[in-house]
């Protein structure tokens, strides 16, 4: 079984990462931003799995599982924050949330 070489996965991972980054930088809704962060994390996971396959060791997959666990934790906290904001009827617009202005 051959299929595409690993570099195809690398390029795909890069494209996914760029897409996620664009989403973080260009959307105003914090929910969408969180989803874009998930995309970026997944792209990293893809790269890790690919490299693990390349080197023949499971370390990459171990790392990927840890990343998944961390991503889940982060989503928990992030969604908790957004729910707290929503309960106060604050407009969910990242541009409006700027009290940390310099």
């Amino acid at each position: 079984m051959h299929g595409p070489d690993i570099q195809w996965d690398v390029v795909l991972s890069a494209l996914l990462f760029a897409t996620g980054a664009l989403g973080v930088m260009l959307r105003r809704n914090p929910l969408i931003i969180l989803l874009s962060v998930e995309i970026m994390l997944n792209s990293a996971n893809l790269l890790l799995i690919a490299m693990s396959r390349l080197h023949g060791g499971e370390d990459g997959q171990i790392f990927a599982i840890s990343v998944m666990a961390v991503a889940a934790s982060e989503v928990v906290v992030g969604l908790g924050l957004i729910v707290a904001l929503g309960r106060r009827n604050v407009e969910l617009d990242v541009d409006k949330l700027r009290t940390l202005r310099g």
């Binding site: 980054a21 930088m25 260009l26 959307r27 990242v94 541009d95 700027r98 009290t99 310099g102």
Partner: protein
């Protein structure tokens, strides 16, 4: 003898320290007594040293004592050395003698002044400085004393601190003297470079003979002498120095400090003999000064200014003598001049003191009738000044004038100038006498005259003036050149003259000088005494003091002012001020621009992160 010299030097210093430390716990009178007593003690010590010296043979009279090495740098060692030889003992006697009389006089004159203790402390400092100057065994101590007398002069001219004019005059005197100090210091640098020593014996033996360096050294020393003795071109400070109290004018600006330049030339005469061009220059400047000062004195209306210009003129005579090489004659005139000039100042002081401090001779006219004692002593002083036999000035001045004949055509020109100066002296001295002390008292004088317990002044003022009067009468008798010359013999081992007139020249000169002086007196009597002839209109040139002040104002002040203004506009405001403003401007603008990045938007920060990541990746790629 060494102990006596040290005591003579240190007593005035002790007085100054005591009065300063005592402060207000000493009464004013006590401060005056301390100052007088110590100066008289110094005089006694000088006499002791003199007697001791006289007992030795001529070649063994000089003695130098060093207390410790003061300055030691590399191969150069300068000690705190006192030199007591024939020349310095003469100066010591004159300085301490005249100072003690004048300080005693000031007890009465300064009575009731604002802060007498300060005055007496300063006077003691001055006496100490002058003694250091004349007793110093090397040029470094001389320079130290030189600077300190300049300081004392500044402090005493500016004694009346609230008076604007006094402060300006003090500054002017100090700045001009500082200029002279600078040229002297440069001369000392050259001496150190070329001889490696500063003590007199070493310097005289090792200094170069002729050539540019010798000329520069002598020129530097001459610059200092000109500044201190108020000769052209550094003379403009002396008339303004009359802002100080009268005893100060008498002591510092007549009898002692201004003669320091003459002492310097006499002491360093080998250096001047190595550079005869500069010595001739000194004589020429002295001759020019004596003429100019005499002309200006003809039109002055302030009694002290007339006497000040007279001082300038007489010191011109001394410079002529010293420059031509007749050192004993110059020193002799220095001595007699100290007597009669101090006498004139102090007598004028009695008059000023009696008439509420007024110094204008038109207002003081005719007070001779109210103050006979003052009139007679002033007459004695004026006769001595003009040089009439047998008063002191006759013997000394004529000796200088005749010495000019020993120097070829240049000396002949100076000879004529000196005789013309003698004529002018007669005119201005007796103009002053006739206006102030003869005739009917003016209304002002009558109204404001107040006697002091029935006498013309306090007793301390009267006896000191009397003593000086006596000295002016007999002081000249120690030397009458054609016949007996004690002073020349005394000074010969130390300052041998190089210009000696013959006896015939002496007799002729003396006769000429007396006649010319009497002619001047006659002119003054005709115009001011009997008022037979109307006074000629005075020239603006004389009244403006030959425009020297205006010239210096133009050269030094205006150009400096222009330069300062130009630098301010061109350099300071745009460059220095501008650069600081630019720094703050840049910081402000920069902060404002950079603060745009702090907009509080999460998205912008995310962009910043992404951008930074992109850049870092390139960096890592490049490095590894």
């Amino acid at each position: 003898m060494a102990a006596a010299s040290w005591i003579c030097l240190l007593l005035p210093l002790a007085s100054a320290i005591t009065i300063s430390a005592g402060g207000t716990s000493l009464s004013r009178r006590v401060a005056g007594y301390i100052s007088t007593a110590t100066t008289m003690g110094a005089f006694v010590a000088a006499v002791v040293a003199f007697v001791d010296m006289a007992g030795k043979s001529a070649s063994h009279r000089g003695a130098a004592t060093t207390s410790w090495t003061w300055l030691s740098a590399g191969p150069y060692h300068f000690g705190l050395t006192l030199l007591t030889d024939q020349l310095s003992i003469v100066m010591m006697l004159i300085v301490t003698g005249v100072s003690s009389l004048i300080i005693a006089y000031s007890i009465g004159y300064m009575d009731g002044e604002d802060e007498e203790r300060r005055f007496f402390a300063y006077m003691s400092v001055f006496v100490f400085s002058m003694l250091l100057l004349v007793q110093g065994g090397n040029l470094l101590l001389l320079l130290a004393g030189w600077g300190m007398v300049g300081l004392s002069s500044y402090l005493l001219i500016g004694y009346y601190q609230e008076r604007e004019s006094a402060i300006q005059a003090a500054k002017k005197a100090f700045v001009m003297n500082a200029f002279g100090d600078a040229t002297m210091a440069l001369a000392l640098f050259l001496l150190i470079q070329h001889t490696g020593k500063l003590d007199y014996a070493g310097v005289f033996a090792a200094s170069p003979h002729g050539g540019a360096v010798a000329n520069l050294i002598a020129l530097g020393l001459l610059g200092g002498a000109l500044a201190k003795s108020a000769q052209i071109p550094l003379h403009t400070w002396l008339p303004d120095a009359m802002e100080g109290p009268t005893p100060v004018s008498a002591l510092i600006h007549a009898a002692t400090m201004v003669t320091a330049g003459v002492y310097l030339i006499a002491r360093c005469h080998p250096l001047f003999e190595n550079a005869y061009v500069i010595a001739d220059l000194a004589a020429g400047l002295g001759a020019a000064t004596l003429l100019m000062a005499g002309l200006i004195a003809l039109v002055q209306t302030d009694i002290k200014r007339v006497i000040a210009y007279s001082t300038m003129s007489q010191i011109g005579y001394m410079f002529v003598g010293a420059g031509l090489g007749a050192y004993p004659n110059a020193m002799f005139h220095l001595m007699t001049h100290a007597f009669f000039k101090a006498l004139l100042f102090l007598a004028a002081g009695i008059a000023i003191h009696a008439i509420v401090g007024e110094q204008d001779i038109r207002k003081l006219a005719g007070i001779g009738k109210l103050m006979p004692f003052t009139k007679w002593v002033f007459l004695v002083g004026s006769l001595a000044l003009v040089g009439i036999f047998p008063f002191a000035g006759f013997f000394s001045k004529d000796a200088i004038i005749s010495a000019a004949l020993d120097r070829g055509w240049y000396g002949d020109v100076i000879y004529v100038a000196c005789l013309a100066g003698a004529f002018l002296t007669g005119v201005y001295a007796f103009r002053l006498f006739f206006i102030v002390f003869t005739g009917e008292p003016s209304a002002f004088a009558r109204e404001h005259f107040h006697s002091h317990h029935g006498q013309e002044g306090p007793i301390s003022m009267l006896w000191t003036v009397g003593a000086l009067g006596a000295l002016s009468v007999v002081g000249g008798l120690i030397q009458f050149a054609p016949v007996w010359h004690l002073l020349s013999t005394w000074l010969d081992p130390v300052a041998a003259p190089i210009a000696e007139p013959t006896n015939t020249q002496e007799w002729i000169t003396s006769a000429l000088a007396i006649l010319i002086g009497l002619a001047g007196m006659g002119v003054a009597w005709a115009i001011y005494g009997s008022k037979r002839v109307k006074a000629p209109r005075s020239l603006t040139l004389f009244e403006k003091k030959f425009y020297w002040d205006e010239l210096y104002d133009l050269i030094w002040y205006r150009s400096g002012d222009l330069l300062a203004r130009g630098l301010y506009v061109l350099v300071e405001a745009p460059l220095i001020g501008g650069s600081i403003t630019a720094v703050t401007g840049i910081v402000g603008v920069g902060s404002r621009e950079l603060s745009v990045a702090q907009n509080g938007l999460v998205r912008s920060y995310a962009l910043a992160l992404a951008g930074g990541l992109a850049v870092l990746a390139v960096v890592f790629l490049a490095v590894r």
